[in-house]
């Protein structure tokens, strides 16, 4: 069953068509990758799904409910959360506070309750603190809970961003290049971690990735975008042998040959 469906989703920036009638389906509990050359519209698609951009035409549905026109804070409450290509933590908050901000929409405390310190508010805050600590433990950061996010090393920041996204309690997690800038060992750890997320927490994962090793290693379905259009979709094995994909990445065979001949 599809958890996320895009039908003829279109997004233009002036004359540039960033997404061109994109059809895409993400099955529940899948690990689904979106790949494509730079400027293919991958991140634009993420931004349309999470409400940062509003597509001009077409629809995007989560479990059959339309997301178009909703604000990011409404969409995250429906169960979609994301990470960013260039890490966007709250730099001057501690690791734990970052995760607690992620829990925001699941907490109820209001102004009066907080100021008067009602028992229900205190209880909620205590539970939130425990949940945040658990999430930090889950991403191996429980020892650094009071570090300012900006002082954490790169790999920790990536994992903290995921912990913060998990605090939204998503059904669908969008990861934008989770292994960017990582060395092979860290990349392998991240792959294991993503699989772990899906298997343990039952979260559907949609990711943008450039490293072919990661894409082929963990995804069940791969969608290839080029110039905002879907040019191929299938299992990793199918994609690897798809002539159109090779063309999009490397240029046409004749061109390559011509170039190598002239070069």
């Amino acid at each position: 069953m599809a958890i996320l469906t895009a039908r003829k989703a279109t997004k233009r920036f002036g004359g540039l068509v960033a997404l061109d009638e994109l059809d895409l389906e993400v099955r529940e509990h899948a690990i689904h990758s979106v790949i494509g050359p730079n400027g293919a519209g991958k991140t634009t698609f993420f931004n349309c799904v999470t409400g940062f951009y509003r597509p001009e035409a077409g629809e995007i549905l989560l479990d059959g409910h339309s997301l178009v026109g909703l604000l990011p804070d409404q969409i995250v409450r429906l169960g979609i959360s994301r990470t960013y290509q260039n890490i966007r933590l709250f730099p001057n908050l501690t690791a734990k506070e970052n995760v607690l901000v992620g829990l925001h929409s699941h907490l109820r405390a209001g102004f009066v309750g907080i100021v008067l310190g009602w028992p229900a508010t205190r209880q909620e805050e205590k539970e939130a603190s425990e949940e945040a600590q658990n999430l930090l433990r889950f991403v191996n950061l429980s020892a650094k809970d009071d570090f300012l996010a900006k002082n954490l090393p790169y790999g920790d920041q990536r994992r903290l961003e995921i912990a913060r996204a998990l605090a939204n309690r998503p059904k669908l997690l969008l990861l934008d290049e989770p292994t960017a800038g990582m060395n092979p060992r860290e990349t392998q750890e991240m792959m294991d971690f993503i699989r772990h997320l899906r298997d343990e927490l039952g979260i559907t994962i949609l990711l943008i990735e450039h490293q072919m090793k990661v894409v082929m290693g963990i995804s069940e379905t791969v969608t290839v975008l080029d110039y905002g259009e879907k040019i191929a979709e299938g299992t990793p094995a199918e994609i690897q042998n798809n002539p159109q994909v090779i063309e999009a990445y490397l240029g046409r065979r004749s061109e390559v040959q011509a170039r190598s001949a002239s070069g």
Partner: protein
Amino acid sequence: MRQGIKIGLIGGIIEVLLALVGMVEAFSQRYIISDVISMGQTLLLVVAMFTGYLAAKRTNRSEPLWVLANSLISGLIIGGLLSLLVILGSMVRLRAVFINASPDLFKLLTFNQGIGTGILLLLIFGTLSSSLSGLLFLSPSLLRGVLIRSLAGVAMAGLLQDLLRAIFAPWGPIAEINQWFFPINGLTVQGAVSLFILIAAISYFWRKSGSKMKTSLRRLPPTNQRVLRITSSFLLAVILLALPQILGLFLSEVLTIVGLFVLLGLGLNIVVGFAGLLDLGYVAFFAIGAYTVAVLTSPELGFLNLSFWGALPFAIVAGVVSGILLGIPVLKMRGDYLAIATLGFGEIIRILVLSDFLRPWLGGAQGIAKIPRPSIGSVEFATPQQIYYLILAGCLLAGFISWRLRDSRLGRAWMAVREDEDVAQAMGINLVAAKLLAFATGAGFSALSGAIFASKLGSVYPHSFSVMISINILCLIIVGGMGSIPGVIVGAIALVGLPELLREFAEYRLLVYGAALVAMMILRPEGLWPEAKRRQELHREEAPEIESASGAASGK
């Protein structure tokens, strides 16, 4: 060497400017140590010593001789530049341009010794003070810390002599301290020396065993810790309650002004410090609070003639509502644009209040007078000593609310908005609600402060609500430490209280503000009393240890 020359030139130019704007002369009326060193001379001395220290610190080579040479050169340049000023002053009539370049100033600069000897003394003064601080830099850190603290302590005691004198005066035998330390103008020599030794002893002891004491305190059983906490907060409460009685009338007046600014600062701290919304029109809510009380209570206008307490809720509600009304149009604005829009709002309110059109309701330029004082039963809050308690209650309330909010869901939402608005929204934070709540809360505190202000003065005038108030509040937050609640208090004392105590400063208030802000940004950007979290950055060197430890753990 180059560093020494460069820093020396900067220091020297600062000294010359301080002399030419008249600060040195104005400050020399007051003595730090009676008949030995005046405040003006201290100012020159502090700048020279700081320059020498900086020159020593910036030396590229670590050999002590080089370090010393650098600070010495910087001091020589300072002395040289001041001498140049003196020579120039004796040849040209500088007064045509710099009205403060008076004969008195030159007499002061030459130590009253005529040009020849004076210049020699100036050069000696420069080299001596800066090389002393070069030596200070080279001395072991324990000694250095103790010496700097004691020197600063003596200077502070001299600076705040009025305050200290007033504190000790009413205590019978203790008042003898005044005779010993500061009989008329400035510390006595024996007083200064004994104070120096006292502070040195205390800070030496603290340096040696302060951290040990802290850990042993932390190791106390929880019940004892609780007793300790309760006792200390009880003590604090007693001090706060007794403060106006100890300080007397004039200082209580200063205290009430500081208190009003603390209240304002706490409000703006929520808007700027927590939520990161740069609001330059914050004085508008202060005015709205004050005018609401004035209009509702003053018999001069005769609308309602409510009591202060009857008008107070209306004032706060008016503040909150106008906070929301201002918030709505600027919701989409960020950073500089927001600052300019709010600046405009502040001016609009002031001009409206001033306008002839609204004169029948708001009194125009004449303002509104005869605002009744607040009273509980038959007790009237009339004198500053009585108003103080009202302000204290307001500050405690605002401080408590800020403190509760800071570590809550809402406080975190504000800080998330401050850090990254887009991501905050993607974390499920309703930006509209979060921003409006911040504006409303801040405006509420401000209106409360305005309400008390109106009834304290008994009258309100449009010119009390100029944009400078907004700037002052913003400055005190920055100096205290953005987002820090105790920082607001420290900032208010430093930027509002101190200038009130040192009347000589009044003329140079803005200059000192500017200098203080620049110095803060360079030396201590996190503020005088930063949030605990932000202080962590200062101890970054401790981080790698933990890092490697947990790195090994996460390696599985």
